[in-house]
């Protein structure tokens, strides 16, 4: 999943990016409201983490501009302003959630996960594909109760396709959602990751749910 982090504190920007990447998110970071507006318009992020007090365009103005353009990306507001009226203002401006500083990293990550699930209309943190279970909270995968060992890149691709099960995602779509601007993506990264997933999870099975739609992309079919 790809998130946009907008925070003008260099330390917070750096440390939150670290924590989100460790969690398996692809993170684009900026420290200016005007830049954030441009980036959010161009990239279909899964979640935007938005500080309120920003140079350039402030966070609330960025949020209102996004909603006016009907950009419905879930937004988590971050700020030191914790009064009730500040929270109400943020939520009424279109924020999906609000977190006041200081906060624990674990709480931030849990709220981001919840917003991602909401974006895919998935209330259950466990995605089940037959006997395969993807535990989105812990970032683990099990098959028949046995935990499977996947790399972060493999896990992200599996979760992305599982959330869109039944729908075909193109290669460029996959790359946009899974890799941030800083990532170096080879032309066959997606193909090799798909291959690795099939090998690790459905080796030797004729009816692998992870299918290639030639010329269109990849999908995971709904289990029967």
């Amino acid at each position: 999943m790809r998130v946009l982090l907008v925070e003008d504190s260099p330390r917070l920007l750096r440390d939150l990016t670290f924590a989100l990447e460790k969690r398996g998110f692809a993170v684009d970071a900026c420290s200016d409201g005007t830049d954030a507006l441009w980036m959010a318009r161009d990239v279909p992020y899964d979640v935007i983490l938005l500080d309120i007090m920003l140079p350039g365009t402030d966070g609330l103005s960025v949020l209102r501009a996004l909603r006016q353009k009907d950009i419905q990306i879930p937004v988590l507001m971050l700020t030191a302003k914790g009064e009730v009226e500040d929270r109400v203002t943020g939520l009424e401006a279109g924020a999906d959630d609000y977190l006041t500083k200081p906060f624990a990293v674990s709480e931030l990550l849990a709220r981001v996960d919840a917003l991602v699930r909401r974006g895919y209309r998935d209330k259950n943190p466990i995605i089940a594909l037959g006997d395969l279970e993807i535990h989105t909270g812990e970032r683990t995968v099990s098959r028949g109760g046995v935990e499977q060992s996947l790399t972060p890149r493999e896990y992200r691709l599996l979760e992305f396709l599982a959330r869109r099960r039944g729908k075909t995602s193109s290669k460029s779509e996959i790359e946009t959602h899974l890799y941030d601007d800083e990532s170096y993506v080879l032309s066959n990264t997606v193909e090799s990751t798909v291959s690795a997933l099939r090998r690790k999870l459905w080796s030797g099975e004729s009816d692998c749910p992870l299918r290639t739609q030639r010329g269109h992309g990849y999908l995971i079919v709904n289990p029967e």
Binding site: S9, R11, D15, L16, P55, A80, K81, E83, T100, K101
Partner: protein, 474 residues
Amino acid sequence: MMDQAAKRPKNGLGNRVTRIVVLALGVLILLGGFFVHAAIKELLVSQFDQALLTKAQTLTRFAEAGRSGINLHFTEEPLPEFQGGDDSEYYQVWFKDGSVLARSPSLELDQELPRRSQPNKHAEFRSLELPDGRAGRAVSLRLSAQDGVDNEGFIVDLTLARSSEGLNQILRKLVWGFLAGGLSLLILTLLVVRRATRSALRPVDLLAAEVAGIDAESLESRISVDSLPVDLQPIASQINGLVKRLGATFARERRFASNAAHELLTPVSELRIASDNALDWPDDPRATSGLAKEACELAEQMEHVVRSLLALSRAEAHLTPVNSEHFDLGNLLKELLDSFQAEISSRNLRFTCELPKEFPLNSDRVIVRSILSNLLLNAIEYSADATPLKLSGRIDSEMIELTIENRPDEVTREDLEHFCEAFWRKDSARSSREHTGLGLALSLAFVRLLKGELNFEIEEEAIVVTTLRLPKNH
């Protein structure tokens, strides 16, 4: 608002005015009625008495005294009113020695009229009960009669009495008339005054309703002054002024709370996130390296904010001790400017200085140094590059005055109002970590502690003029 105007409280102005007017009018009507009634009664009684006296005097002209009594000859027929029956009148005549000389036929033998008792009065009037039980009025006279036989004169007392029922009835009707008239007048007055006060006080009711509608959420609203009567306009203007100041105070308090939260909670948040990462991923050098150094820097940053806040709080409460000493302000300024020289040079500021050769000051050197340091540093750091920066000073009889002129980027007149507001910064995003927004607030608190003044003005070409005045001898 209309409902509030319609619901008039019992102790409201309108009801009070109505009560006072009706009460006053009631008292006036009562007193007036009383006196008028008394005057009319006196007049009527006087007229009655005069008629009674006239009749008594008329009777005496037709009296012929004889040894057997007085004979009254008015006509060939005896006077019918003295014969008894309905509406009888009565008379009785006494000799000087008190023996009865004559009595009217209407008077029974065992019935007596009162005799004259006040020798100094020519005619004596009194109210009495007539022998037939009716209320009456009598006049008693002393007169001289002539013996028809001997032609000798002698003194007799005459009392004539007649019914006063008619008079009393008139007087009763008069009283009822006054009461009915007075009551009607009072009721009419009540209605008229009530209506009049309601109409006259309507602007007051509307003003009261508008003022009652002002609360913490509506401090931007103002009462419309022009639509009010002239005598209420000063009140409305004052209220508008008070609400405006209250709104500004509330806004300032909200800004303070919000900015203080940002200044204090942001470094705490940075420390927490960095610590969480280090705890969750202790083996990742990106999470752990430099953590100690950053924690130290953040702690220093928070310490600076907290100390500044405490200093501000103490200065505003006049708890900061002031230790005065003699020193030369010029030397202190030179010392500060030397320390800021690098900054001045790096910004290419065209610095000029005009100070008196001797610039003595008797004040707290440490506090003055803090004030000047804040003001100079502020002027230097916020001046646009390559702009003039001027420092000048003068002394008068009581005060020293120091002026700093600089040209900052994008400062407006509205910004000047907030210069000394705690935590206020021109950059609303508060991006820079070198400033907390407490420097000028602290300077102002210190200046006031030293009984001085600090002012900011914008002159032509966007030059900000900072004027500091301090007592020469604190």
